[in-house]
Symmetry: C2
Subunit: 501 residues, 2 copies
């Protein structure tokens, strides 16, 4: 494929195997890779690097790197490297089981970060020196510009900061991705200017990644699909959650608070978020737009149906079937999709300006509306914060959703006090479970508690929550946010002891 995808002669001269390329990465290096929610990550060099890690271990040597990404990758990247125990520090969002296990066993450090912050933190040097950028691209132009792949993530920043650059040119990605991206560079203070984006469809940058060609040490040819991000068909709970949200949005439109075509949608990752999109696709709203992180199957369906006229994201995160559909109908889809750096897709300036309707999943919420998105029983990292904080604090409507029960009913997702706080009461306007929707806007904590218990808690746990709340209100030292501190986390303690709340 060299001729058809790598149009720059000098860079054709740097084509080599993944193993040869991986030799440019040294123990202790920080490596910035492409990839966001299972798309656009490097497919080949990370596995070669993992082999080097394993070989070093067999010689009794330690070979570990810092691994910085856009968000989650896939088995051939995070999976391979963490299986070999080759990562000392990982940031930001992850979802690979091998990775999660190393983090929770204490073998790897993990820095969870708001996704909009990663690029500027790295540029300021908070994470140390970036030695190598390892970036998947679709093609290399004659003048050396790069056609980005299915995820932009932090690629512009990694290419800028790294001493050495390794490119993977993936023949499995459609060349007609060219032109879909909008790469805009945000300067660091004190040089930062207003970002002139006032609608999701606006283009403010240019479609290519740029890199100093002198820094490119290797070009590796691959032919490997993105992760098959399988979505389950919406189950009863997801349909109920979607239904509550649709009813609420119709009510908001009727009240005149939002336009008939809503405001730009942001939808988190996973099955429930996907089901809500399916609900919107069957719903009464037209001419919708999205300003979001990832475009999942549900949003692609909405583009195909004509419901969604524009989706701005930093990555697609599709099932293999939907990705095939995207590539088969690229000329149509590319009219409606823009992929941006995650510093732009998740930028508070733009989110506040557009006033998104943000819908994100959670692990648990407490009766006062604080949300735990990340820590199982307060200590075990699930996936990380992702962009939920970028959106929740700046959205017009900040909605968090979960089924009311987990672990076959053993756990209530509404608890007296969350075991970890990712989103404070100040950033959570609406909570939704299959039981109902709690509109918390403008309510005090005591008012919120009543609504959350009544609308969102599962009937199996409602009486116990009400009992806790009443005793806390009677007994608490201060009655602004009534708690019994010796009991507030007892539901979680019970789970650790008995396996249920």
């Amino acid at each position: 494929m060299s001729e058809s995808r790598i149009h720059n002669a000098a860079l054709r001269g740097k084509i080599m195997s993944a193993d040869e390329a991986a030799a440019f990465i040294h123990p202790g290096d920080n490596v910035g890779v492409s990839g966001f929610t299972g798309s656009g990550h490097p497919k080949s060099v990370p596995q070669a690097l993992a082999r080097r890690v394993t070989a070093a271990a067999e010689r009794g040597e330690t070979f570990r790197v810092g691994l910085w990404t856009g968000a989650s990758t896939a088995p051939e990247c995070d999976g391979a490297l963490f299986k070999a125990n080759g990562v000392s520090m990982r940031l930001p969002y992850q979802s690979d089981p091998e990775c999660r296990n190393r983090i929770n066993s204490g073998e790897a450090d993990y820095t969870d970060v708001h996704l909009s912050h990663v690029a500027q933190n790295a540029a300021w040097g908070h994470y140390g020196k970036l030695n190598v950028a390892l970036i998947e691209v679709v093609a290399i132009l004659e003048d050396g510009r790069l056609v980005p792949s299915t995820a932009v993530g932090n690629n512009p920043t990694w290419l800028e900061l790294a001493d050495k650059v390794i490119l993977e040119v993936n023949a499995a990605q459609d060349t007609r991705l060219e032109g879909m991206h909008d790469i805009y560079n945000i300067a660091l203070p004190p040089h930062r200017q207003p970002i002139a984006l006032v609608a999701p469809a606006d283009r403010i940058g240019d479609p290519y990644l740029r890199v100093d060609p002198e820094k490119i040490v290797a070009v590796v040819e691959t032919n490997c699909s993105d992760r098959d991000n399988k979505f389950s068909a919406p189950d009863e709970n997801s349909r109920l959650i979607a239904g509550h949200i649709l009813d609420f949005l119709q009510h908001e439109v009727k009240k005149g608070r939002i336009p008939a075509n809503l405001l730009p949608l942001q939808s988190g990752v996973g099955n429930i978020a996907n089901a809500v999109m399916a609900g919107l696709n069957d719903g009464p709203f037209d001419n919708l737009t999205a300003y979001t992180e990832v475009l999942q199957d549900g949003m692609l369906d909405m583009i195909r149906s004509g419901k969604l006229v524009c989706a701005s994201a930093t990555a697609v995160s599709l099932s293999a079937k939907a990705l095939a559909d995207l590539f088969a109908n690229m000329d149509e889809y590319r009219k409606s999709i823009i992929l941006r750096p995650q510093e732009v897709s998740n930028n508070p300036e733009i989110i506040r300006r557009l006033g998104t309707i943000s819908m994100n999943g959670m692990l648990e919420a407490d009766i006062y509306g604080n949300v735990n998105s990340t820590h199982v029983m307060g200590t075990r990292m699930m996936n990380g914060l992702g962009g939920s904080g970028d959106f929740a604090r700046n959205a017009y409507l900040s909605i968090f959703m979960t089924p009311s029960l987990a672990k076959d009913g053993a756990l209530s997702c509404i608890v007296p006090m969350v075991s970890h706080v990712d989103h404070t009461e100040h950033d959570v306007q609406v909570l939704v479970t299959e039981q109902g929707l709690a509109d918390l806007r403008g309510l005090s904590p005591r008012q919120r508690a009543k609504v959350v218990i009544e609308k969102c808690a599962h009937p199996n746990f409602r009486a116990a929550l009400t009992d806790y709340y009443r005793r806390a209100e009677a007994g608490a030292n201060g009655k602004h946010t009534p708690h019994l501190l010796d009991e507030a986390l007892s539901w979680h303690v019970k789970v650790l002891r008995d396996g249920k709340m």
Copy 2:
């Protein structure tokens, strides 16, 4: 004074007593008042309203209103109304003892909100209908435009939303405040545009408040100073905290991460923040700027000394002595001070763009860097969140500070787990106590714990914190953020039982 301050003849015809004006306010009304950190609040009508509340109570009737402000007011506003128990719902920030007591006794509801959110939430109707705006001004121009007072706060929004407007024209405020303000209206989505402010000194609006003259039902003349916001002289702890911050900023400049004149400063309210400004006034940095909420005595000193060339805020919050100095030298000071609506002073778009250095106080932090700014022992509201969340998440440097001990050494301000979270680990980059400074940037939770305990905890509690951390690390279900959930809040439980940790 009518002739000299109220230049509009029609409005001169609406001059009346505070008692007459208060008669326009009815039980159940929502009243939006001016005022931010003890400045620019109405001085007379709230007391007249409190008398009506008391008279109603004596007749066996209930008279309560919703009270919306910019931030804290003073005894003649919050104090009088809460003493009479005349407020059902209060928002956002407050600091009056009468107000705090009603909130913590459960007699009044309180909605704590990011200060940048108040105007848009009110405009969207989340708090219900605004019936009356009660606004202090310095003068009324012939064409009806209003010269704002020492605080802008949410005044433009209250004037826009309210059915009826009552103006207090305060002869104690210097008429040369005219021209100091920059009133800029931020539209609601989907009509919001970029805010074209790229430096703290930029002016993007105009100096006057506007209001439909038909809505003005009363004009009340007052002559009463703002609250005397007394600051104690910096004590040893404050000087040490300031010293750690100065050392750190010098280190950042040396590393090339921030310019020699730093980045725009944001400083929270209170004595420690004021002491840090005193430290900066004696420090090595010149040509400083501030983009902040309130201008306290320390910043005024820095303007006088020439260290601070521009301060943008939404209010001044000065001691009586400093306010007299401001008024005595107004022609000089006004060159360097701009007062804006709090939706602009606290806007995430601008804060992220400018990359402020934000320094805010806190009640307690935990070993993982989560911060409690508001809730004593998890339940008692102190003052509220203020703008700390607007700044902490969007600043370039987000610094939180407190002495390491409280209550004469009975309490450690560094605890295993905070009893309430206002700022998550993701928004806290630097923690400072008199003991030292913990730079948490780029660290995982386990790495943070070691630094926080070593640098910030008081020696009296360091061993106990280390012991907790070690046992948590050994015993926790997941080791990403090690906790022992049955013990995490035990330090607070002990305080409630024994009065000490």
